[in-house]
Structures are given as C-alpha cells and as structure tokens.
C-alpha cells in the first residue's frame, strides 16, 4: 500500500499544481534575485564609496529602507508559491529626528539580514532556475527525440562508405535508429517524471535560508515581546488600581455615606418628645441592611484583590473557587509542591475568569478543572461542554488573560470550535525566577 502511494506521488508530481508553482517561483526568483541582487550590490557599493561624503550613509539607509519591503515581497512569494509561511520580523523601531531615524535605519538588523538573503539569492536563484528550467528542457528535448531526429540530422561518414544520420550521440554511440530514438524518448520521460524532485531540493535550501534570514530575529523578537508584555503588565496594574478605586467609590464608600444618611434620619426621628417608633424601626432596618451590604461589598472587593485562602496554597484556593461556581466543576489536582506566589495568583485568577466565563456565556452542563505540576510548569486546564466558539479576538476577557499569562512567559491555548466543547489550557512556569 505504501509503495503504491509513493508511486502515485511520483507519477503525479509532474502534473501537480505545486510543481508548476515551484517552477514559476524559480523563474520569478531568477529575475528578481539576479536583478535585485546586483542592483543592491551596486547601491551598497556606491553608498560605501560615497560614505566619505554626506550622501553615502543616507543612501545606504535608503537602500535598507527599501530592502524591508523587498523582504516582504519575497516572504509573500514564498507563501503564495511555495506554501511556506514565514513570520514577519518586528517592525523597525523609529528614532526621533533626522539623525535618530538615520541611525535607526542603519542599525536595522532585520534589513541587514534581508540584504544577506538578497545577496545569497543571486547564486541561489541561478541554481534554482538552472535546475528547474534546465532539467525540464532536457527532459522535453529527450522525450520529443523521435519527433525531430530525422529532421535536419547531423551526418557522419564512417569507414565503409556508410553515412550515419543522427540527432544525438554519446561518444561514438549514435542514436540513429528508431529503437534507439525511443530509448532517448524513454530516458526523457524518466527525466520529466523525476524533474520535480531536484527543483524541490534546491528550493528547500532557498526556503531554509529565507526562514533564517527573512523571519523574526530570535533575540530582538524576544526583546520586542518583553517590551510589549511589560507595557501590558504596567497598563494592567494601573487599570486594576483604577477599577479598585472605582469599585470603592461607587460601592463601599457610597454605601457608607448612605448609611450615615440613614443614621441621620434615625437621629432626626428620635429627636423630640413624640417618637414615631414604627418610623424609627424602619429607618434602623434600612441602616442595618445598608451596613451589611457595605460589609459584603468590601469582602468581595478584598477577595478580588487577593483571596486570603490563596495564602494556604493554590489547591485550597481552587477548591473554594470551584465550590462557589456553577456548574460545580469536577476537579483533579496534582500539586506536590507550591509554585511561586505570583504564579499561584495568576493561575488562580485565570481559573476564576474562565469559570466565570463558563457560567455567563457557555450554557455548559459539565466542567472539568485540573491543575498539575509537570516539568516545571503549572498546567491548568478547564474543559466545558458548552456552546464553544470562545474567541480571544472578540471581547477583551480572554485576550486580557492571555496577556497576563504572557507576562510570566506562560502560554494559553484555546480550543473552542463552535458548538463546543471548549478546552482552555494555561501553562505557567512554576518558578519563573529560579529557572
């Protein structure tokens, strides 16, 4: 069966759209690669020579500015014709002022790597085109040998006065008879059949180089990622403080003011000789329930800031959380040691948010919650059989969680097809500082 499948692949390869897309790529790459590569070389050389004058460096900066979109064009070609997605590198960090922008361009690692790619592209594109077009041409030439070898053949005169008329010879072996002509044809067909594979091999090399030179830079990407997550963490903290202030202002603080008003009314009603006891009781009742509401609001707010039970560990905290949520999740815990407190807190709030989402949006009947430590990771998994279709790009809840998780180099994975079930996995480094 496997042999058959392989055979089918080989037989179909010359006719596959992919194969012709590769050929098209090789042809376009030849034009782009050779012309672009030499133009680039010329401009860089000119810039270098002129760098003794004041236009040299700006010229190089200009070239580097153009190279970025050229890199994008190559990524697009590779994606469209070779089907390989290369992630875009980070955008340039712009300096301010003319000098700052010039420095930014000249120090643009992404552009310099693109330059390296475009230079490597000169021999690469020639090789790809040579293999792609050359092998194809050879195959077509051989395969069509029987059609043309009789037309305008070469002629040699051998000893005995006989003339050999042929189109092709290997040494003194002349392909000058019909059986021999069909032999050439058969060889040509084999070449045509196998033609896609060397092309593929050469382009695989091109793709590999493109991946490492046109893709994101590891270290600079990491820095960009850290900058972004740090900004998000700072914004998140500020937003949290604002929210707490708001909750206090509109909640407990307003309730206490209202309580003071109620007590004022009570005092008023108790003043003088004829006291209306019914009215006074009503007012005291109002004040009493106002005080209780204020206490509840404060308690909820405190739990939102830092649930005290979390000091006992993540497992008891999650147990408390699970007991309060609907539907109550089926839980499993495997936490032999405690992650660092910050990780416990983030993990706790992730689960809290996910369970709240399930209650609010999913109409789930069964929920599974698991928390385990494995390979230095705290892995939290929440599964529900609700409506699914959870999408971090819609609504900020999940996106906010993902951001929060990223600040400690954690990962959140969401699998939620429409109709469910939804599986959300959060993996956090258990001790990010130590590891």
């Amino acid at each position: 069966m496997e042999g058959q499948a392989a055979l089918r692949t080989v037989l179909r390869a010359p006719f596959a759209a992919r194969t012709w897309a590769r050929l098209l790529y090789a042809v376009i790459a030849l034009v782009l690669g050779v012309a672009g590569g030499y133009a680039l070389l010329l401009l860089l050389a000119a810039g270098t020579l002129l760098s003794v004058t004041f236009i040299g460096l700006p010229l190089i900066a200009l070239v580097l500015a153009v190279v970025r979109p050229v890199g994008r064009l190559h990524r697009w070609l590779i994606r469209t014709l070779l089907g390989e997605e290369i992630a875009a590198p980070h955008p340039i960090r712009r300096g301010s002022g003319l000098l700052g922008r010039l420095r930014g361009r000249l120090g643009d690692v992404v552009a310099w790597r693109a330059v390296a790619y475009l230079l490597a592209k000169i021999p690469l594109s020639i090789l790809a085109a040579a293999v792609g077009i050359g092998v194809l041409a050879e195959g077509l030439w051989s395969a069509s040998y029987p059609l043309w070898w009789r037309i305008n053949p070469d002629t040699v005169h051998t000893g005995h006065g006989t003339a050999r008329r042929f189109g092709f010879s290997i040494g003194s072996f002349y392909f000058d008879t019909w059986p021999r002509a069909f032999l050439v044809c058969a060889a040509g067909l084999v070449v045509l059949l196998l033609w896609p594979w060397p092309v593929r091999a050469v382009l695989a090399l091109d793709r590999m180089i493109a991946r490492s030179l046109l893709g994101p830079v590891r270290l600079s990407e990491r820095v960009a990622d850290l900058e972004q997550t740090r900004a998000q963490a700072v914004e998140g903290a500020a937003a949290t403080l604002r929210q707490i202030e708001r909750d206090l202002h509109d909640g407990a603080q307003a309730r206490l003011v209202s309580l003071a008003m109620s007590l004022t009314l009570v005092k008023d009603s108790l003043r003088g000789d004829s006291v209306d006891l019914t009215r006074a009781r009503e007012l005291v009742d109002t004040a009493h329930s106002g005080a209780k509401e204020a206490i509840v609001e404060l308690r909820d707010l405190v739990r939102g800031i830092h649930p005290p039970v979390l000091d006992q560990g993540l497992e008891p905290a999650l147990r408390t959380l699970a007991a309060r949520s609907t539907p109550p999740p089926i839980t499993s815990y495997d936490l032999p040691t405690r992650p660092s407190p910050a990780i416990e807190t983030i993990g706790y709030f992730c689960v809290a948010e996910l369970l709240t989402n399930i209650t609010r949006h999913s109409a789930a009947k069964h929920v599974d919650l698991s928390a385990k430590l494995t390979g230095g990771l705290l892995v939290l998994r929440v599964v529900d059989d609700g409506d699914g279709g959870a999408d971090p790009t819609r609504g900020s809840g999940l996106a906010g969680l993902a951001n929060r998780v990223r600040t400690v180099d954690g990962r959140m994975h969401i699998d939620s097809p429409p109709g469910g079930p939804t599986v959300i996995t959060v993996a956090l480094p258990a001790n990010p500082v130590r590891s």
């Binding site: 603080q253 003011v257 109620s262 004022t264 008023d268």
Partner: protein, 214 residues
C-alpha cells in the same frame, strides 16, 4: 428651598432627597447625569443645585463642567458641588470669576445634616460654603506661608472658618467666643495679610482664597 440633585449613585440620590425632604425642603428633581441636570434646572428653576462631580459618561468631572456652565448661564442659581474627594483644582475653577452662591463639600458632611442644610442655605442665598478639607488643602498649597505664620493660632482658626464661608456669628458659636472677639480677630487677620476690609461674607471668603492662591 427648591432643590435639584444630580448624583449618579442611586442610593445616595434617594437618601439625600429623603433627608432634605424631612427637613422641609422641596427636591424638585433628582437626576443622574450632567445633561439631565441642565434640563432639570431649565425646567424647574430651583434655588440651588447639589451636584456630584463624577457622573456618567466619563466619571471624571462632568459635574464640575455642568456646574461651571450653570454658573455662567444662571448666576442667580446656587451651586453646591458634592464629592467623595476634594480636589483643590476643582475648587479653584469653581471659585474663579463670579463668586456668589457656590459651595464644595465632601459627601460625608451629610452625616451632620444640620450643618449640611445650613451650608446649602448659604449657597442658595448667594453665600459660600467650602469644606474644611478644601480650606486645609488651600492653606497647605499656599505659597504665602510667611504671612500665614504671623497669625496667632486663634487667628488661623478664625481664618479657616472664614474661608469655609461662615459668618462672624457662626464663627463665634463654633469657637465659643463673643461676636466682638471674632470681629477683632477678623480685623487683625485682614490687617496682617494686607487685605482690604470687606463686609459681605462671600466677599471675605474670596478675599481670603485669592490671597492664598495668589
């Protein structure tokens, strides 16, 4: 008094309306945002408006904006800002320009309803009522600490009460001294700070505030 209340927290709106009603005042409208306040004032022509500073939609200073507009459009209307925090900046903006009939109090002052209603009455009558907290902040922020230092402790107390918008009689009551004694202190204060003597209560408040802000 005919009163309009603008306050977005429902329990406070209702509570305040009830309190003022038990004191025999007529709350003609109680609304929850600035636009509704402007509309209610235009409709009911009240004596005084009690305005929360933070209201929808942005929950920042909508109340102050509405108050400033009301003061410009209806100088005869008393405006009492009512907030859980005191911002000196807001007080300064409110007191800038024409100055009669303004007040700025912390919400918690309603716990002492007599004082609150008294302050509201002052504002409705074209006087001034500033929270002691506002006065403290203005004292703290004042660059004229040198001349303030020349005041005796008693004179500073009188100055603070004056800045809140109280009459000499009220100051005398609060400090448990005679009216004559207060008049003497006031005269000393104006002399030491180099302020022109002033009779009308709200004008003395302004004199003091201008002095501290200048």
């Amino acid at each position: 008094m005919r009163i309009v209340i603008a306050e977005d927290t429902a329990i406070l709106r209702a509570g305040l309306a009830e309190l003022l009603a038990t004191r025999g005042h007529e709350v003609v409208a109680a609304v929850a945002d600035g636009d509704a306040l402007l509309a209610a004032v235009a409709e009911h022509l009240p004596d005084v408006a009690v305005i929360d500073i933070r209201m929808p939609p942005t929950h920042t200073d909508e109340g102050l904006r509405a108050a400033l507009r009301l003061r410009q459009e209806r100088p005869e209307l008393g405006v009492l800002l009512f907030s859980q925090y005191i911002e000196t900046k807001y007080a300064t903006e409110l007191l800038a320009g024409k100055s009669a009939g303004v007040g700025y109090l912390l919400k918690e002052r309603v716990a002492d309803i007599d004082e609150f209603v008294d302050a509201l009455g002052r504002v409705a009558a074209g006087g001034t009522a500033l929270d002691p907290e506002v006065v403290t902040q203005l004292f703290g922020a004042s660059r004229r600490t040198d001349s303030l230092d020349t005041l005796t402790p008693r004179e500073r107390e009188v100055l603070a009460l004056m800045a809140e918008g109280r009459t000499n009689a009220a100051i005398a009551d609060t400090l448990v001294v005679s009216g004559r004694a207060v008049e003497k202190h006031v005269a000393n204060i104006f002399a030491k700070l180099g302020l022109p003597p002033s009779e009308a209560d709200h004008r003395r408040v302004l004199a003091v505030l201008r002095y501290m802000q200048s």
